[in-house]
């Protein structure tokens, strides 16, 4: 069996200074998002009279138009954006991998139809459908949660809907790539051997094909997370995603963008969320690239 993760991948990754920097940065952002509130305890929703006060000791990132602390809001935004990004990417991973596996393994006509469907989905404006779907289902989902007694979750219904719907649209590339890999793998000898031994299709898929997909799936997972984060912030920026007083990077940036004008520019309301978001996406994209270099056998020099 050829190894799923080529030998030396980890040491190659460790020798890449960019990858190390990206991982350190990501670790810092994740820690700040989830443990930061323990150190810096300002309430991200608490309004005060100090509107648009510039960065100071009490408010390191300044305050926004309602006198809310920007640092606390950036941390809350990071939490929500990261959770949406990670869970959405995980859903797309599950769908994309199983779709690609089935399509590639079945081959022939089924493969043709399934890939045609992916092409069609590629060519329609999926985010627009998602905008409509989140608007349509948010209300009834809230009612459903209330009726089911899950009142704790009601405040998070928008987040849950965003996670699910973004996961449902970002799996296309993953499916394509997994299918390509399966097509290449399934004609190799170890698969023929497994088939000759009389193993079932399910067993071949789970025991022989799936482990060999690990590398490529990890690479595209690191690239799907930033895509989902971008989609979420896109919706929140337009006012169709996370709603105030909850914050996500997208809604913070929307607030920040409106405070930039020729008369007075409250730059801190824009710059800090922008920096947090851009750095996260940069780190993820750099890490994805570095992983590709480390894991992709073709890229080995």
């Amino acid at each position: 069996m050829n190894a799923a993760i080529p030998p030396g991948a980890w040491s190659r990754l460790r020798k890449n200074p960019i990858a190390i920097a990206a991982m350190a940065l990501l670790a810092f952002i994740i820690l700040a998002a989830f443990l930061g509130p323990l150190v810096f305890t300002a309430d991200p929703h608490a309004t005060s009279r100090e509107q648009f006060s510039p960065p100071s000791v009490a408010h390191p990132f300044g305050t926004d138009n309602n006198g809310r602390d920007v640092l606390a809001r950036v941390m809350e935004g990071a939490r929500i954006s990261l959770i949406v990004g990670l869970s959405g990417a995980f859903i797309s991973l599950v769908i994309g991998t199983s779709y690609g596996l089935i399509s590639g393994y079945a081959g022939g006509r089924i493969d043709g139809v399934m890939m045609r469907f992916v092409e069609i989905l590629y060519s329609i404006p999926r985010l627009i459908i998602i905008i409509l779907a989140t608007a349509a289902f948010d209300h009834s989902f809230k009612n459903w949660l209330n009726a089911g007694g899950h009142t704790v979750l009601v405040g998070y219904s928008k987040i849950i809907i965003l996670i699910v719907s973004l996961g449902l649209i970002e799996w296309l590339t993953m499916a394509r790539i997994v299918r390509g890999q399966v097509l290449a793998l399934k004609n190799l000898q170890f698969v023929s051997a497994a088939r000759a031994l009389g193993q079932s299709h399910l067993r071949i898929i789970v025991r022989h094909l799936l482990p060999n997909l690990t590398g490529i799936v990890i690479i595209y997972l690191t690239l799907t997370i930033p895509a989902v984060i971008l989609d979420e912030s896109f919706l929140s920026f337009l006012g169709l995603g996370i709603q105030a007083p909850q914050a996500s990077w997208g809604s913070l940036l929307a607030d920040g963008a409106t405070s930039i004008n020729p008369v007075r520019s409250f730059w801190w309301t824009l710059v800090f969320p922008a920096a947090a978001m851009s750095l996260t996406l940069l780190a993820l994209n750099f890490l994805g690239d570095a992983l590709r270099d480390a894991l992709d056998p073709r890229a080995q020099r």
Partner: protein, 304 residues
């Protein structure tokens, strides 16, 4: 392809109808009789199914006519009374289209150029810096780039307008903002495929014939290396369409994007449908063109 369009129209209609609230909700509560009359006037009374079939033009409307999509009627806007969806689209689409085409040209030419340079000078500082810049552009979202560009080019130095529509200069910042990430994406695609092509036998043959470097690259390699970029043009158009929603909002452009967002918030079902239909038709048509272009560029496909 019509099937795709039809499914999107259907899904859109039922999703908009599933949203809470109605387009007739105002600050003052309307008496029921007036609301019913309004609903009837806009063919929005009866069950959702009846409204849907009336909209398609399969059922007689209030005036007893078949007048729906099949007859080419996009209906009046529910929120902007007395204006038809067709009229609203006619006013806003030229702006969106100009922006979209400008961004499309910028993304393709810029990306192909950057990617080719990076590939030809593989391993040099030009390659490294181009790819670094590309990664930055991909990672920084348009709603960060947009306000920053405004801040520097329109507020700090008064070179370009802050927003709005009118002069030629007003299209520069929005187009750059919209195209930015896709310049980078195409540059990366182009670099990879160009590197692959440059390593192939026919390039070596061309070089061996004594052709100049420029001729080898721009006449022989470019044509083959363009294929992955061509197949990305369909998705690119879809991305630019959705991206234009944000860019038009940032720069206050009178395009279809902000109208679309508002029509969702207003539950203006016919306006939502109108925009979605235009977007979808455009994408479907463009994908057909791309398919044709692909077979023209790559003769191997027709042989299969």
């Amino acid at each position: 392809m019509l099937v795709v369009l039809f499914s999107v129209v259907t899904i859109t209609f039922f999703l908009v109808k599933a949203m809470p609230g109605s387009p007739f909700t105002t600050e003052r509560k309307l008496p029921d009789s007036i609301r019913q009359q309004l609903e009837a006037r806009f063919n929005l009374s009866g069950s959702t199914w009846e409204q849907y079939t009336t909209y398609l033009g399969l059922r007689r409307n209030v005036s007893g006519e078949y007048s729906g999509l099949l007859q080419g009627d996009l209906q009046p806007s529910v929120k902007y009374r007395d204006r038809s969806v067709a009229e609203l689209l006619g006013n806003t689409l030229p702006v969106s289209a100009t922006l979209g085409i400008a961004a499309f040209l910028l993304a393709t030419t810029g990306g192909i150029w950057l990617g080719s340079i990076a590939a030809v000078r593989h391993g040099t500082w030009a390659d490294t810096s181009a790819m670094l810049a590309a990664l930055f552009l991909i990672s920084i979202p348009s709603f960060v780039i947009g306000p920053l560009l405004i801040f520097f080019f329109a507020i700090r130095v008064d070179w370009l307008p802050v927003g709005g529509w009118g002069s030629w200069a007003s299209i520069i910042l929005p187009a750059v903002t919209l195209a930015g990430p896709y310049v980078a994406y195409i540059a990366r695609l182009m670099r990879t495929s160009m590197l692959e092509v440059l390593g192939q036998d026919f390039i070596r043959t061309a070089r061996a014939k004594g052709l100049s470097n420029t001729r080898v690259i721009y006449q022989h390699a470019l044509k083959v290396a363009l294929l992955p970029v061509v197949s990305f043009l369909g998705p690119l158009a879809a991305h630019l369409l959705t991206g234009s929603l944000v860019v038009e909002t940032i720069f206050n452009l009178p395009g279809a994007g902000p109208f679309f967002i508002n029509s969702i918030l207003n539950k203006d079902v016919f306006l939502v449908e109108g925009v979605v239909i235009v977007y979808c038709t455009l994408l479907v048509a463009l994908n057909l063109v791309v398919d044709v272009a692909y077979t023209l560029l790559d003769r191997r496909i027709t042989l299969e």
